[in-house]
Symmetry: C2
Subunit: 341 residues, 2 copies
């Protein structure tokens, strides 16, 4: 079995071969200069109507293959999603690989094919890249950085400052699938029915609702730390108290069961294909309906609202239980499961 | 001593603190959304006159501190240089960190201060970032990805296809300093005088010569695999034979001595602040003089020329020695020294 050698990251013949035999055909790279030059007309002709969004993420998920995806499509979807939640359409992505010596080239090929497919699915182009190799034991199989460029229609302007009392909190689908799928794969656990990662691009979902952009205050992609972390961040930044209702939050039985079994807080479990949006009350139901019209948003729901208390820099997220109780959801210290993405 | 914990990469309170206490003030980040939104007017108003360059690089250099720099300024300079060699002015950079659990926060601070300084020096803005943490032993101290966006004046168009017989090969300074400096630090070797990495931004050098862009065929930043790798790549891609003259190549005594002692080919040793340019013969001397007018280019020299032989996809780099001998410089298989950048 062919494996990655230190020389594959050495800027010589081995690296050239890797680029020519693997990366160039699979990613359909046109340009092998030190920088890609973007000549696409839409970026230039659109200057009057669009702003540019720029985002980066490194992926160190372990294991690198899990039910529903692998580190490759996760890395593409994740960056598409960071662009989507600011209202941008992803256009270009760069790929930076750090590979451990001895990594099977066949697996590398599988991963980059997944990346190419994930990119093609949403019409984003992978246009530049970089490969480094470390000695065995100095990294862990493969780490991937993806950095994305997208276009935001100029009139779209989400802001924490727009959050106000009475706004509704929407979630686009059942939570916790990614975290539990990775965890199950990592520790060899089985849940019935099997939990599949929700890794998916949010671009279509966001495009659907973007016509109501004036009614969207802000959106988040609640990955590490789950919706608990995202809600706390928004609550702290806006200063408003957030109230969510336990019975309104969508989740699957398997995920809930796994969390109870393992002592995990489902609100803190990572998602990779979920949109969290704070929207004006007048349009909240319409936005949920639009989300529900596509499969990824089938289970979209209003899960709570922005309260009336305001004290800048404080923030407070309260979970109301069906029996009338309530508890404070605090910002998690870190992620319950390291290397979830 | 405070160290990085797994939770610092977990999307919760610890990560927020790291961002607020360290990254935001040092990088002067304005925007903490999932994507940075570029609102700078120069990117929009300039659409008619500029193209966009996009480049990515991950840095895994070991050791992370070496004479002349550290992984932080190396990561910024390296990405600036990848933009510079396509004729672009660096504008925006993203920073993706992968940190090993237990890494001292004080060292992290030192590194990001170096990054901020290197960025400020050339007027490039660090606008978005990401931090992941792996368990101890699953990565090696710190890896950094930098991805850069730059602007290329629309009339600037370098291309391998422009290389033609008689063109001159220019190098902007003495070769091999970065590779030997890192090697010496890694293995505790001492050379007299001490070898210092040449890590530096090439933007000023490129700006100087860009007025003669019509006479520049193509430029490279000969890092991994040294000038040997860069020359072979250009020779293969253009199909022309390249001839370089040993006595014209600038290097320091220490670097030459270290290479002889260690059995390294100086032509294959990595550089991090050197420009390699193929230019028209009529302007070669003028371009060298312009380079020599700034300190980083003081030792700039014409080191060879493009020969008359042409056979597409073949390429051949020949080194002529002072005594009239000649030897073929082949594409290195990999880098002689792993993790040089």
């Amino acid at each position: 079995m062919k494996t990655i050698q230190l020389g594959h990251g050495g800027g010589g013949k081995l690296m050239q071969e890797l680029i020519q035999d693997l990366f160039q055909p699979i990613f359909e790279l046109e340009d092998l200069n030190d920088s890609a030059v973007i000549v696409s007309e839409d970026l230039y002709n659109s200057h009057k109507d669009f702003k540019i969004a720029f985002t980066t993420d490194s992926y160190v998920v372990s294991p690198i293959f899990f039910p529903g995806g692998n580190i490759g499509d996760l890395a593409i979807n994740g960056t598409i999603n960071d662009l989507s939640v600011v209202g941008a359409t992803a256009k270009y992505i760069s790929v930076g690989l750090i590979i451990e010596e001895g990594f099977p080239i066949e697996k590398l090929q599988q991963i980059i094919i997944s990346m190419a497919k994930a990119a093609k699915r949403v019409g984003v182009k992978i246009i530049t890249g970089d490969t480094k190799v470390t000695e065995k034991g100095k990294s862990d199989l493969i780490f991937i950085n993806t950095t994305g460029l997208g276009l935001i229609p100029k009139e779209v302007e989400f802001s924490l400052n727009k959050i106000t009392s009475g706004d509704k909190i929407i979630i686009s689908g059942p939570i916790g699938n990614h975290g539990i799928a990775v965890l199950a794969e990592r520790y060899g656990l089985f849940f019935e029915p099997k939990v599949i990662s929700d890794t998916a691009p949010l671009n279509e979902l966001v495009e659907k609702i973007l016509k109501y952009h004036c009614h969207i205050r802000i959106m988040r992609d609640p990955t590490r730390g789950g919706i608990s972390s995202a809600l706390n961040e928004l609550s702290i930044a806006s200063g408003y108290e957030f109230i969510i209702y336990e019975e309104l939050i969508p989740y699957s039985k398997s995920v809930k069961g796994a969390c109870e079994l393992l002592g995990l807080d489902i609100l803190e479990v990572a998602n990779e294909g979920i949109l969290l949006a704070i929207v004006s009350p007048s349009m909240a139901e319409m936005i949920v309906k639009l989300m529900q019209s596509i499969s990824i948003g089938e289970k979209a729901a209003i899960i709570g609202e922005v309260g009336s208390l305001k004290g800048k820099g404080k923030g407070l997220v309260i979970l109301k239980t069906p029996l009338g109780g309530s508890r404070v959801i605090s910002m998690p210290l870190g992620e319950q499961l390291p290397r979830i993405c």
